[in-house]
């Protein structure tokens, strides 16, 4: 680790506190990073790690605390100051203007101009090409953002920072949208950048990546700093228990599955995305009773369109979907729900809940038109409330108030409301799309428990997730989706990460992988 210059404290954040109203996102946090170091910030969702970095980047002003860069105290009140001080940030949700070209995105904010304020686009293009050559980050400078892949977009983000002469790079959850192979590439890029003297902070909740790439790791839990450790000296288990605050078992306990007959049969499904391209492209799949079938894949390989297609939210171009032997292709969402298929949607705030409705109103979303909740078009508020209270109790939704506004619940409790609603419908098929995204460990365990319970009742569960660990731990069988098709199906017990990664990257079938 001689690339790290221990005499040179590039970043020192002292006693940083950031409050949003009454909520303390960062509570008196210290952070020291040396030149050339790859420093990981580890914490659960909502622990406050992104907030801390947004403070460093000038997007948030700290409520109190001080920041020193190279030993000098600085007041970073907006991103311009951060950029001037050589800080660059790659955000989790890319900050790219979709309708602009790669070059336009990179130069925005520090455009070189000719006379009359005209942007000198030729010169900028040349500069961008030079930097991408220097750091080995190839991109097409004249392509529009909405035409390039997610991996390419991430490169544009890194180039944006380097173009501004960044010496410190903050990467916020950079691997969430990448394939295992792309992640590998990113790790290499990070190492090469650090060899060239750049300091890198990576925000993540993935332990393996920290072990793989980081030198030091600072753990944050509920807004407080727990510790900074040398990565070589700790195990993944140590990191996990520091992150969560208790011992965590990585393995989900479950009995052997007893597979029954086929309940959901999808054949040669084709579904278009918003750009009118075939996002699902001849997908076929069979889901049995009494099993959890996991669908592994990198974001953007047609998962969302697949779910929306079979649940009636998006038109199916061709192919068939049969539920319990009945053709439900292009039926309305209502008919599909009434036929016994329920969904935990991938975006709980967009699709799953009406945030301004009360918990009770959300719980009857699929049943408001049925007795006893309504009769002849009139709602029976009392019955609705009683039913909601029953589920709130059963699923341990907090607070215990059926009139509470759904948008004011925590993420975990919001997910419980959805889970309660969908499972109480007693579906033959439960589709769970990214069911644990953004939840903390306790809530994740809770959701997994219910999915497995559903399976043990003899019902079918289709689990779609970008988290490979989740797929491997919870599923009985694993189907890998790539480019809108299922490339292969494996028994979960035989699946290993390397094989799955190979398949997820479009490497071909399992036989070729071996």
């Amino acid at each position: 680790m001689n690339r790290i210059d221990f005499d040179n404290k590039v970043i020192e954040m002292k006693n940083i506190t950031k409050k949003f109203g009454d909520f303390v996102a960062n509570d008196n946090i210290d952070l020291t990073v040396h030149k050339g170091e790859i420093h990981a910030l580890l914490g659960e969702n909502g622990a406050g790690k992104s907030t801390l970095m947004n403070v460093l980047y000038g997007l948030y002003e700290p409520t109190s605390g001080e920041i020193y860069l190279n030993g000098n105290k600085v007041d970073i009140t907006n991103p311009s100051i951060a950029i001037k001080n050589g800080i660059g940030m790659v955000h989790q949700h890319f900050m790219l203007v979709e309708t602009f070209t790669v070059v336009e995105n990179i130069i925005l904010g520090m455009e070189t101009t000719k006379s009359l304020g005209v942007v000198d686009i030729e010169k900028a293009t040349k500069e961008v090409e030079e930097i991408s050559k220097k750091y080995g980050l190839y991109v097409d400078p004249n392509a529009k953002i909405h035409d390039i892949t997610v991996g390419m977009q991430q490169r544009v983000e890194i180039l944006k920072a380097l173009y501004r002469g960044a010496d410190i790079l903050i990467l916020d959850e950079p691997t969430a949208v990448l394939t295992p192979q792309e992640i590998e590439e990113l790790m290499q890029i990070m190492k090469s950048l650090s060899n060239q003297g750049k300091t890198i902070i990576i925000i993540t909740h993935k332990l393996r990546e920290i072990k793989q790439a980081a030198d030091y790791c600072t753990i944050i839990r509920r807004g407080k700093k727990i510790d900074t450790v040398k990565v070589d000296e700790v195990t993944e288990e140590d990191l996990a228990s520091m992150m969560v605050g208790r011992k965590v078992s990585f393995n989900v306990e479950k009995e052997e599955a007893s597979r029954g007959e086929v309940i959901l049969k999808v054949e040669n499904l084709v579904v278009k995305d918003n750009r009118k391209l075939n996002a699902v492209n001849g997908l076929s799949l069979e889901l049995h009773k009494g099993e959890i079938l996991g669908i592994a894949g990198v974001d953007g390989n047609g998962q969302s369109e697949f779910i929306e297609g079979i649940t009636g939210l998006r038109p199916i171009e061709s192919g068939t979907v049969k539920l319990n032997g009945k053709d439900i292709t292009n039926h309305s969402p209502k008919e599909i729900i009434d036929n016994g298929m329920n969904t935990i949607p991938e975006d709980r705030q967009k699709r799953g809940l009406i945030l301004d409705f009360t918990v009770a109103e959300n719980i009857i979303l699929e049943n408001y038109h049925k007795e006893p909740f309504s009769r002849k078009g009139r709602l029976n508020h009392k019955e609705v409330s009683n039913y909601a209270k029953e589920l709130i109790e059963k699923f341990d939704i907090r607070p215990r108030d059926d009139k509470h506004i759904a948008g004011e619940l925590s993420g975990g409790n919001q997910q419980k409301v959805i889970l309660a609603r969908e499972i109480s419908n007693d579906p033959d098929v439960l589709i769970a799309a990214q069911p644990t995204r953004g939840l903390d460990v306790g809530a994740i365990e809770y959701v997994h428990k219910y999915l497995i319970e559903q399976r043990d009742k003899g019902e079918a569960v289709l689990l779609i997730s970008f988290e490979l660990d989740e797929i491997m731990n919870v599923s009985d069988r694993i189907a890998v989706i790539f480019d809108g098709k299922i490339v292969d199906i494996l028994d979960a017990k035989e699946a290993d990460e390397k094989t799955l990664g190979y398949l997820m990257a479009g490497g071909g079938t399992i036989d070729e992988a071996k």
Partner: protein
């Protein structure tokens, strides 16, 4: 939260009146005197009160129309056009079709509602079928309605000779309260001895106000207590989630626009059958629909809230009309006041900041006592 909203509206009204006072004093008028004139202009005589109510009636209905659409996430800027179409059709039915009293106005009103519903439903259809923003289409439809109404009024057989207006509706279609009785010998004799009633009945008092209140209550009930209302609110608050829950979003958009259109059409019909009795050639928009937007915003998009909001609005407008003849202050100060009220209602964040500063100061004091 509800209480907070109410506070925001009250403060906005206060700010509106303050700015109005400033505008008046800059021009050399005494604002206290001006507001005094307005208050007297509304409550001073029984007939003023009835005029204020008459003025407010169409605004309740266009206000509820806008509010109802708002609750489904739709911005019905087209209340104006729906009003025009509603009044045109009510006039047509009121003039050309011969029916007995009681039945005649009911038919004319229903025809006006239906016309407004179809007119607005078209915008709803364009939104659900083609995804075209209803703000744009309803603005277009307002102007199309205006020119179409003028075109019809200019048609021979409908146009009243030597007048830029249609024929008057038949007496059987009128919805005036005691309309005939007022001018009969018995009525005149009775009213002679009753100053209050005489004054109150002097203006074209009509059943419109009662209709408007009943309709506002009905819309409140639909939104709050029916499955239709549940669906409409779900679509308005989060159409993606509503769709996912099995609610037909497109259908509900059209239904909501049609109901909103029916209400504005009703406003137009009531205005014709109760007050104007004719459709005049319009050089420009009369503003019932636009005023309805302001009413709805002041009411926090609650149908019941539209009743006091419209009365406030009607009071300001009618009371304001006394400014020019008495103290010479231009009536338009009223539009400025209304604009400022809407302006502040648009910025709940500002008012929250103002009230929270107050709270914080209070908090500090408590701290000091400790």
């Amino acid at each position: 939260m509800k209480q907070n909203r109410f506070l925001i509206v009250l403060l906005s009204i206060l700010f509106g009146l303050i700015v109005g006072a400033i505008v008046l004093s800059i021009a050399g008028f005494n604002p206290i005197e001006a507001y005094g004139v307005m208050i007297k202009g509304v409550f001073g005589k029984p007939k003023y009160i009835s005029w204020t109510i008459i003025r407010s009636t169409p605004l309740i209905l266009t206000g509820v129309s806008v509010a109802f659409a708002f609750r489904t996430g739709l911005f019905n800027i087209g209340a104006e056009g729906q009003f025009i179409i509603g009044s045109l059709v009510a006039t047509l039915v009121g003039y050309f079709i011969k029916l007995p009293p009681v039945i005649h106005p009911i038919v004319a009103i229903l025809a006006g509602c239906l016309a407004g519903a179809l007119w607005a439903g078209f915008a709803g259809l364009l939104k659900s079928k083609f995804g075209i923003n209803e703000v744009i289409t309803t603005i277009m439809l307002n102007w199309i309605a205006l020119y179409f109404s003028n075109f019809m009024v200019f048609t021979e057989g409908f146009k009243r000779p030597n007048k830029d207006a249609s024929h008057k509706i038949l007496e059987s279609a009128s919805i005036n309260i005691l309309g005939k009785w007022k001018t009969s010998e018995v009525g005149k004799a009775f009213l002679k001895d009753n100053d209050f009633l005489r004054g109150f009945l002097n203006p074209p008092v009509n059943y419109g106000f009662i209709i408007a209140i009943l309709v506002a209550i009905l819309m409140w009930y639909i939104l709050k207590h029916t499955t239709l209302g549940y669906q409409l609110r779900a679509v308005g608050l989060n159409k993606d989630a509503a769709e996912y829950g099995g609610i037909n979003v497109k259908k509900n958009i059209v239904i909501s626009m049609m109901i909103a259109g029916a209400l504005s059409g009703l406003a137009g019909a009531v205005q014709v059958l109760g007050v104007s009795k004719e459709t005049a050639v319009l050089a420009t928009m009369e503003g019932y629909g636009f005023d309805g937007i302001a009413v709805s915003l002041i009411a926090g998009n609650s149908p019941l809230g539209c009743i006091p909001a419209a009365l406030l609005f009607g009071g300001l407008k009618y009371g304001g009309s006394k400014l020019q003849p008495t103290i010479g202050a231009p009536f338009e100060v009223i539009n400025i006041i209304i604009g400022i009220i809407v302006f502040f209602i648009a910025m709940p964040k500002l008012i929250e900041i103002i009230t929270s500063i107050k709270d914080r100061k209070r908090g500090e004091k408590v701290g000091n006592i400790k």
